[in-house]
Structure formats: structure tokens, C-alpha cells
């Protein structure tokens, strides 16, 4: 049920009508009652007079006949039948004369509807006749002789009782009429006033909530409402036109705004609805109909780390604690990623208390700016912390910044260099042509890389691998940045690593040699010992057996010789030149060199090799293969499994030769798999592992063989069994 607004015109009108009807009914009723009362009194007067006259005749007759009882009966009957008579008294002079009194008094009084004789004892207690003044009377004559006096007292409450009864009897009728009048009036007001007015109001309300579906008011009504409807319709039309203009203007503005890539929002604080423009939604990957127009739509997209701050800022702005609303925050895009947004807003409407009721603003995608900022920060970190020296000049080639590394590298302090031209670092080593070519590359390509020999602050020279880039904005060079890498240091580092790697490789190979030679040496030892025993303790030497043993020694010695040759070839420094070679042969060489270790650890090598020839550095590849096989061997050594395999597969695909070496050693731990190619990274004790094997393998494959190497964990099947292990994949160019 609708609550009743006491200020409503309809309520006031109804109240007025009801009041008027009530007053009219009351006045009319009072007037009528007064009239009725007067009429009753008048009638009563008349009636009582007539009654008295009628009674007079009869009484007189009875007086004349001395019929006391008869006239007493008549008096009693009269008062009984005429309720308006309060009392009736007859003074009979005839009887009185006989009885020696002035008169014989008869009569009756109506006391609370009980007719009591005036001679009754009870009448002595009721001072009726002294109080009553409302009576009519008449003298009774018989032949001109006064024989009696008749007095009729009129009941004072009779009229009021009748009025009361009349009122009560008619009350229901009056009430019915009253309510009918009220009902009719209320309904007429409702029909001709309230309802048309409500229709207008509802229409306005509906129209105000949905401008696009404004309906015209029905103009068929009473004249005033017709006029109101007409005027409203005209006004609505003008509003529509204005709305249209506004809409176009808004669209233009939106279009202009969104042309810049910014989104638009418009927040009605009271209803908490927010308009998000198409661009606003598109900015974070949503279609126009995918987000609802609610405040929470935006709130729920804010990054958890930003929400408290953002809401606080908005609140502060609304409360007037801050003058502007410009808050950077991250919004969750449709794809789950976050985008940096700058939200700006202004207050465009306030309520009657002056509090903001409507805000509007823009959303700008500042993710790039943030990236730039991050980039700048990162750049600054890199700038300040890199081991390479960085020198920055403006477009006029005046030094505007150098980093610490450059200071350390050159021996110059920043303050000494600012505003100077980098020419001050120039040595005489390079000729003019060199610098001209350098600048031609910079100005033409935007960058140049090469070696520069610069003079340090202390006069010494440093060979620097240098990269110089120009930085342009709007196609205009604004800065030059030079990055210097001290080759000397690098070279020293490379030498160290190389030396260490060679040492490590040598160590491995020696290890392999020891594995290779252990068994053959054991065979030779066993055979020679056998021969010695045969010679010392057997007079009849079996010639066949002797030859057999010697043959075995020879074979084994040959094997050892071949092994040495193999290792010697491996260590040949000058064997580092590209040749065509069969990959299968290289793999076989590698297996042969590490066979002893494989056999010792009961490792089976399973090959699936396409016989392909490549043009590359065979020995370097061999080194890598040995290193990987040895790593697999080490991994398999550590686990307790029955069958230990190393699978070597070679195939070609998309002009690449793919070599994969996988084992069933359980795989490489996820925590370290990404670091295995780092120098000095090892899981073994430092006494047995240098951490350089895979690093060198990586360097050889990527830098010297121009290929790719990567490791992964695999689950694979062999002979219907499933195994887990590490797999090293080598990709080489294959033409």
C-alpha cells in the first residue's frame, strides 16, 4: 500500500471536501433538528390544546354526572396515551362542594413512565407541581357555572426525547448519506482531478527515467488537464529536442574524447548508477553490453592493492577534502590482466544541501606511461648498477649524465664530464675515417657498435666494446647514449672460464681415460699374471693357451692405443676447424670414449640415429656429447633402478639437425633446470663438479656451432614401460 503524503494536494483536497461535507451535513442536520424541534413544539402545542379541548368536553360531562371514576379513568387513559403529557390535574368544584372542600382534585403524573395518582403518597415526595411551568389549562363550565379546572402539564423532555429518537432513527440514514457524499466526492475528485494529475506525474516520472521512451500525455480529459497535457507535451517535445541536441553534443564530445582513446564515465551518486562509455569498456577489453552501469562494476575491477587508496581518494574528493580527483589505479581487464588507468573527475551537480550528486570524468590508459616509468626506473637501476659504462649526451653531444661504472671505468667523475663533449676521451688509435663511419652509422641507422680505445683520466687506454645509439622523439634526435663494455675484463674472464673449462674437460677426460683403461689394464694384468703362473708352475706350456693369452694382451694394448689416439685427437687444439662429418660416427666416438663409465654403471645406450652429415666443428660437438652423456651417467648412478638407459636420437626437421639425449634418471629438479647452463652452477660437490661443463656446452653450441641447446624433463615409454628422465636437445643447422 502507498504511504499517504499529508502534503499531497489530493489529500488536502479530499480533506477539504470531507470537512465541507461534514460541516454542511452538521449544519443541515442542526438546522433540520431545530426546525423539527420547533415543529414538534408547535405540533405539541396544537395537539395538547386540541386534547385539552376534547378532554374538557368529556370531563365536563362527567363532572356534571358526578362520574368521578369515569373522569378519573379518562384522565388516566389520556395521560397513558399521550406521552407528551407529564401530568393532568382536574379540580372538580362540584364534588368539592359536596365534600365541603374547595375542589375535589384528581389527576395523574407520569413519573418515569409510571402513571401515579396525584393523591398517591409518593407524590408528596415529588415536588413536581412546584417545578413545572410548562402547562396549558382550561376552566370547565356547565351552564356558565365554573365546575372545574383542568390543567395539562406538558413534558419538557418529550420534545427532546422525540428529537433524540428522530435523530437516532435518522442517524443511520444521515451517516449513509454522508458517506455516500464523501465517497462520491472523493471518487469524483479522483476521477477528474487526482487520477489525471497522477497520470501526468507518473508520465513525467517515467519520462524522466527513460528519456528515449517519452510518451505523450493523453489530452482527452477535462479542460485544465487538457491544457496541462498539451503544455507538457510541448515541453516534452522541447525537452526531447534539447535531449537530442545534448545527446549529439555528448556524442560529439564523447567521440572527441574517445578519439583520444580516453573513456568517459558519469556517476549519479544518488542512484549510484554510472554511465561508462564504449571506449571506457573497450579500454579494458569489454564489449559495450558486457558491463553494467553500476558503481560496483568499476569498484570490482580495481586491483586489490589499489582499492583502498582509490576509494579513499574518491571519498575525500566527494567530501571536499581534496580539490581534484585524479587517481591512478589498476583495472582488471577482461583477459585477467591489469591495466594502469588514470581516472579524473569533476563535480557537475550538487543537491539542495550542496553535497555532490553527480560526478563525471575520464579514464585514460596510462599503462604505457607506467611502463615507461617502470622502464625509466629499471633503466635508472640498470644505469646505476650495470657493470657497463653509460654516457648520455644531449642532441648537441654535450655530456648530461654518466653512470658509476663509467666513472670507475674512465676514472672521471661525473662533475668533470658534464657539459663536455665525449671527444675528450678520444685516443689517437682510431683515425678520422673511423669516427666519420661511426657517426654516419649513428645518424643513418640510429646506432653503431664497435671497439673504441678511449683514454682514461689517468692517461691509460682502455679497449671498450662500444655501442652508441641516438634517441629521437618525433623524428628528431634528442639524445645520444653510449654503452661501454670493457673488453679487457671480459677477455680476462673468458680466458679464466675457458681455462677452467678446459681444466674441467681435461679432468673429465682423465676420468674417462681412467674408466677406459681400468678394465683393459685389468685384462692385461690378469693375462700376464696367468702367463707368468703358467711359465713358473707348468712345465708343459699349452701353446694354444699361451697364444690365446698373448692375443688378448695384444688386443687390449691395441685398444688402449686407440683410446689414447682418441683422447689425443680430442685434445688437439688445432682440430678446431669445420669439416663435414657423419653425426652417427661422432656419436659413436663419444660412446666409445665413455664406454667404460657406462659399462661400470650398467647403463645401456639405445640409439636411433639418422645417418646425416653436417658441416661443423666435430670435436666441439664431441665435447658436448661427452659432457651430456657423462651428466646422464652421473644422474643414473645416483638412483637405484634396475634398468638404466640413455637414449640417443638423431633426426632432421625443418632444416635442423636434432640430437636428443635422454635418460631415465628421474629428470632435473624444477628449481634448477633453468640454471643448469649457468657457469659454475653444479649440484655436485666442488671436488667433483666445477659447474662449467654444461656452460661450456651451451657456449659451444650457441656461439661456436650456431645452434641451440635446451634441457627438459620427459616422461616416455620404452618396451611398454614408462620412464621419467632428463632430455638434452641440440639443434644444429642442417642444409
Amino acid at each position: 500500500m502507498k504511504s499517504i503524503n499529508i502534503n499531497s494536494l489530493s489529500v488536502k483536497l479530499n480533506f477539504m471536501i470531507i470537512t465541507i461535507i461534514t460541516i454542511a451535513i452538521v449544519i443541515q442536520s442542526l438546522y433540520y433538528i431545530l426546525n423539527i424541534k420547533a415543529s414538534y413544539e408547535n405540533n405539541l402545542q396544537q395537539q395538547s390544546k386540541i386534547n385539552l379541548i376534547e378532554l374538557k368536553d368529556s370531563i365536563t360531562h362527567y363532572i356534571d354526572a358526578y362520574e368521578v371514576t369515569e373522569y378519573e379513568k379518562l384522565l388516566k387513559t389520556n395521560i397513558q396515551h399521550n406521552k407528551y403529557i407529564k401530568a393532568i390535574v382536574l379540580n372538580d368544584f362540584n364534588i368539592g362542594k359536596i365534600l365541603g372542600e374547595s375542589s375535589y382534585n384528581s389527576g395523574y403524573v407520569n413519573v418515569s413512565n409510571e402513571i401515579i395518582s396525584i393523591n398517591d403518597e409518593r407524590m408528596k415526595r415529588i415536588n413536581f407541581f412546584e417545578k413545572s411551568r410548562n402547562y396549558i389549562s382550561t376552566d370547565l363550565f356547565i351552564k356558565n357555572e365554573k365546575v372545574g379546572f383542568l390543567k395539562m402539564y406538558i413534558s419538557e423532555s418529550y420534545v427532546s426525547d422525540r428529537i433524540k429518537n428522530y435523530t437516532i432513527n435518522n442517524l443511520i440514514f444521515v451517516i449513509i448519506i454522508y458517506f455516500l457524499l464523501v465517497l462520491i466526492s472523493v471518487n469524483l475528485i479522483k476521477r477528474f482531478f487526482t487520477r489525471p494529475l497522477d497520470n501526468v506525474i507518473n508520465s513525467i516520472e517515467n519520462n524522466s527515467s527513460n528519456v528515449e521512451s517519452i510518451k505523450k500525455l493523453d489530452e482527452k480529459s477535462s479542460y485544465e488537464f487538457e491544457v496541462l497535457s498539451q503544455k507538457f507535451n510541448e515541453m516534452t517535445q522541447r525537452v526531447l529536442e534539447h535531449q537530442d541536441t545534448l545527446k549529439k553534443s555528448k556524442l560529439t564530445w564523447e567521440f572527441a574524447l574517445e578519439g583520444t582513446g580516453d573513456g568517459l564515465w558519469d556517476w549519479d551518486i544518488i542512484s549510484n548508477k554510472v554511465y561508462f562509455s564504449k571506449q571506457w569498456k573497450k579500454m579494458i577489453g569489454y564489449e559495450e553490453n558486457e558491463l553494467s552501469d553500476k558503481f560496483d562494476t568499476w569498484k570490482n575491477l580495481i586491483h586489490n592493492d589499489d582499492i583502498d587508496y582509490v576509494i579513499a581518494e574518491v571519498d575525500n574528493f566527494i567530501r571536499g577534502r581534496i580539490d581534484t580527483l585524479a587517481v591512478e589505479h589498476r583495472l582488471r581487464c577482461k583477459d585477467g590482466s591489469y591495466k594502469w588507468i588514470l581516472s579524473r573527475g569533476i563535480i557537475i551537480e550538487r543537491d539542495e544541501l550542496g553535497s555532490p550528486s553527480r560526478l563525471t570524468g575520464t579514464h585514460s590508459d596510462i599503462s604505457k606511461i607506467k611502463e615507461y616509468e617502470l622502464g625509466i626506473k629499471e633503466t635508472a637501476v640498470v644505469f646505476d648498477n650495470t657493470s657497463d659504462g653509460i654516457l648520455l649526451t644531449d642532441k648537441n653531444k654535450e655530456i648530461i649524465n654518466v653512470n658509476k661504472a663509467f666513472e670507475d671505468m674512465s676514472g672521471y667523475k661525473k662533475e668533470q664530464l658534464l657539459g663536455k663533449n665525449p671527444k675528450i676521451l678520444k685516443s689517437q688509435y682510431h683515425d678520422q675515417k673511423y669516427y666519420e663511419n661511426m657517426w654516419a652509422s649513428i645518424n643513418g641507422n640510429g646506432s653503431w657498435s664497435g671497439n673504441l680505445l678511449n683514454i682514461n683520466a689517468d692517461g691509460t687506454a682502455s679497449e671498450l666494446i662500444t655501442t652508441i645509439n641516438s634517441i629521437s622523439f618525433n623524428d628528431k634526435i634528442e639524445y645520444y647514449v653510449a654503452v661501454y663494455h670493457d673488453v679487457t675484463l671480459q677477455k680476462k674472464q673468458e680466458q679464466i672460464i675457458s681455462q677452467q673449462s678446459k681444466t674441467a674437460a681435461l679432468g673429465e677426460m682423465i676420468g674417462n681415460i681412467s674408466h677406459q683403461w681400468r678394465q683393459p689394464l685389468s685384462i692385461i694384468s690378469t693375462a700376464s699374471t696367468g702367463l707368468k703362473f703358467m711359465i713358473e708352475y707348468n712345465d708343459d706350456i699349452d701353446k694354444k693357451e699361451l697364444i690365446n693369452q698373448l692375443e688378448q694382451i695384444n688386443t687390449t694394448t691395441q685398444y688402449l692405443s686407440n683410446t689414447i689416439e682418441d683422447f689425443r685427437n680430442f685434445f688437439k687444439v688445432d682440430s678446431i676447424e669445420k669439416t663435414n662429418f657423419l653425426v652417427s660416427k661422432t656419436i659413436n666416438k663419444a660412446i666409445k670414449l665413455v664406454k667404460a663409465n657406462l659399462d661400470k654403471n650398467f647403463i645401456t645406450v639405445i640409439e636411433n640415429i639418422e645417418d646425416k652429415t653436417i658441416y661443423s666443428y666435430e670435436n666441439l660437438l664431441l665435447q658436448v656429447l661427452i659432457n651430456i652423456i657423462n651428466n646422464a651417467t652421473d644422474a643414473l648412478k645416483e638412483i637405484e633402478i634396475k634398468e638404466k638407459f640413455i637414449f640417443i636420437d638423431v633426426c632432421t626437421k625443418d632444416k635442423k639437425l636434432l640430437i636428443s639425449i635422454k635418460d631415465n634418471g628421474g629428470g632435473i629438479s624444477k628449481e634448477i633446470i633453468d640454471r643448469i647452463f649457468e657457469p659454475y652452477f653444479t649440484t655436485k660437490h666442488e671436488s667433483v663438479g666445477t659447474g662449467l661443463g654444461l656452460y661450456m656446452s651451451f657456449e659451444i653450441i650457441t656461439k661456436q656451432l650456431d645452434g641451440n641447446i635446451f634441457a627438459e624433463n620427459l616422461t616416455f615409454k620404452h618396451d611398454d614401460k614408462t620412464y621419467d628422465g632428463a632430455c638434452f636437445n641440440i639443434e644444429l643447422n642442417y642444409n
Binding site: Y66, V68, T69, E72, N94
Partner: protein
């Protein structure tokens, strides 16, 4: 001698005491000239004398004024008791009220009252008497085979209770015997002329009239005159109520079918007795209803002694 004288004086005093209690009673009668009331008065006097009352009779001559005046006189004379035979039951009410104002014990003898207080009411059983009378007439009419005719009633004022009862009883008897009435005419002045006129009326307008019943007795001659004029002596029977001395001959002679005879003498006696009882503090009968003798030719002889004394007051 002195003893004798003393004794004589004592006896005289005693005798006067016995035969005179110093109480006096008044008898207010409607009309002393009417034999009925005269006989009643006689009964009252004789019984009063017997009981030692002084009885004063006040005759109203059937005028209310007189009745009231008499009552006024009675009130002033401080009677010990009052017997009334009022003009009407209506007037009796007033009389009783007056009597009660002065606390005079009152006995009503006949007529009755519409109200007021009394100590005893002596009445005739008018209903039974009239009923028995009706039976006599019905029997006679049947015997004469004229029971298909009607009966005219000349009545005492029907305002009187006794009048009503008489009429009711009589009509009941007729109705039981299938005999219709020709209507009723009431006496007003109780004159002979009046009775004559009423009888003539019935004879003229009711050709089938076969009988006339007078609720009174003393004006019977007026009815007979009318019958004679209409030459219907042998056609129309006459029957009365109350009695005249000549009825004792008329009934046996078939001049009168019969009459219901009240016993006024006896009524008067009873009235005095009840008053006496009251004054002595003895039990009083509130209502004493005496038999009305329905006399016809058949039982007149048998009832003659009662008729003579109680009805006619012949001692």
C-alpha cells in the same frame, strides 16, 4: 330492695350492651324505591338490629350527586362501617375511595365496583342464575315449539358487572338450545315507558320474536303492555329477572314463564354479617356469591318459603 334495684340496673345495662354495641353502620343504596333494594335494606336492618347495630339508610335515588352527597354525610358522621349498593360499579369506586380515606370498612352488596378497596362483596351469582333461567325459557319454548324464534333482551346497563353476567349466562343457555337472541336494549332511566318502548321495538322489528327477557322485574308491565298491543300474548313469552310479589301468581298462571330471583334480603343479611366479622376481628369472606333462584312453574311451590323471605322480604 336495693339489691333488686341494683340487679335490675345491671341487667338493663347488660341488656343494652347485648342489644346495643354502639356501632352504627350506614347503608348507601342506589334507589330505595326499587323493591330489590328495599328488600335488601330490610335484610340489612333486620340483621343489623339482631347484631346490635344502628343502621342508617341513605337513598341515592339513582342519582350520583345524591350518592356523593350521602357519602359526604356518611363521612362526617363517623360510622363504624358502611354497606353500599352503588348506582354503578364506577360510582362504587369513588365511594370506596372516599370511604378508604377515612378508613371506614365497607362492604359492597351487589352491583360491584371498578376499583377501590372493600372488605367484602356480596353478590348474586348472576351468571348461573341467568343461565338457569335461560334453560327454563328454552325448555318452555321447545315445549311450545317456538324455539325457532328469537328472544329480545331488555337489559340493565351492561356497564354493570351483574348486567354482563346475567346476559352472558342467559345467552349461553339459549345458545346451547339453539335459540337465537334478537338483540339487547339497555335500560337507562328504568322507567315503565322505557321498558314499553324497548319491548315495542323488538315486537315491531323482529317478527320472529318469541320471547322477551327483562333483566329487571319491576317494569314488567311495560313489556306486557307492548305484547298486548301487538296481540302476541300467546306468541311472545315473557321472562324476568328478580321478583315482584305478583310473580308468585303470574308464574303458575303462565303469564310469566319464570324469573331468576335474587335474594336481596339474604344479601343484606350477609353484608351485615361480614361487616360484623370485620369489626369483631373475625374472618371475613372477601366474596360471597349467593344463589339466584331460577323459578318456574315447576319449582315455585317448592321454593316458596325462600322466595317469600329472601326474595320478597316477606317475613
Amino acid at each position: 330492695m336495693s339489691k333488686i334495684l341494683f340487679s335490675t340496673i345491671i341487667l338493663f345495662v347488660l341488656s343494652t350492651t347485648v342489644f346495643s354495641n354502639d356501632k352504627k353502620i350506614a347503608y348507601l343504596v342506589s334507589d330505595y324505591s326499587i323493591p330489590f333494594w328495599k328488600i335488601m335494606s330490610s335484610g340489612i336492618e333486620d340483621e343489623g338490629k339482631k347484631l346490635g347495630f344502628k343502621v342508617d339508610i341513605y337513598n341515592s335515588k339513582n342519582l350520583r350527586k345524591n350518592e356523593i352527597q350521602n357519602m359526604s354525610t356518611i363521612l362526617n358522621k363517623e360510622y363504624d362501617g358502611l354497606i353500599i349498593s352503588p348506582i354503578s360499579s364506577s360510582s362504587a369506586n369513588f365511594i370506596l375511595n372516599l370511604a378508604n380515606k377515612q378508613n371506614i370498612p365497607t362492604v359492597i352488596s351487589d352491583i360491584g365496583t371498578d376499583g377501590g378497596e372493600y372488605i367484602s362483596y356480596i353478590s348474586s351469582n348472576n351468571f348461573d342464575g341467568a343461565y338457569n333461567l335461560g334453560l327454563i325459557l328454552a325448555k318452555s319454548m321447545k315445549e311450545k315449539k317456538i324455539d325457532d324464534g328469537s328472544v329480545g333482551i331488555i337489559a340493565i346497563p351492561q356497564k354493570r358487572e351483574n348486567g354482563k353476567l346475567r346476559t352472558k349466562g342467559f345467552v349461553k343457555a339459549l345458545t346451547e338450545n339453539g335459540i337465537s337472541t334478537a338483540g339487547i336494549k339497555q335500560q337507562e332511566d328504568f322507567s315503565l315507558e322505557e321498558t314499553y318502548k324497548h319491548a315495542k321495538y323488538f315486537l315491531e322489528y323482529y317478527p320472529n320474536l318469541k320471547a322477551l327477557w327483562l333483566q329487571g322485574s319491576d317494569k314488567y308491565k311495560g313489556a306486557l303492555k307492548a305484547i298486548k298491543e301487538f296481540k302476541k300474548e300467546n306468541e311472545v313469552l315473557l321472562i324476568c329477572f328478580d321478583a315482584e310479589p305478583e310473580f308468585l301468581e303470574m308464574i303458575p298462571n303462565d303469564e310469566l314463564v319464570g324469573s331468576a330471583m335474587q335474594q336481596p334480603y339474604l344479601m343484606g343479611k350477609n353484608a351485615v354479617n361480614q361487616l360484623n366479622n370485620h369489626l369483631k376481628g373475625d374472618e371475613v369472606q372477601k366474596n360471597v356469591s349467593l344463589e339466584i333462584l331460577a323459578i318456574s312453574k315447576e319449582n315455585i311451590e317448592e321454593k316458596l318459603p325462600s322466595i317469600k323471605l329472601n326474595v320478597l322480604g316477606i317475613k
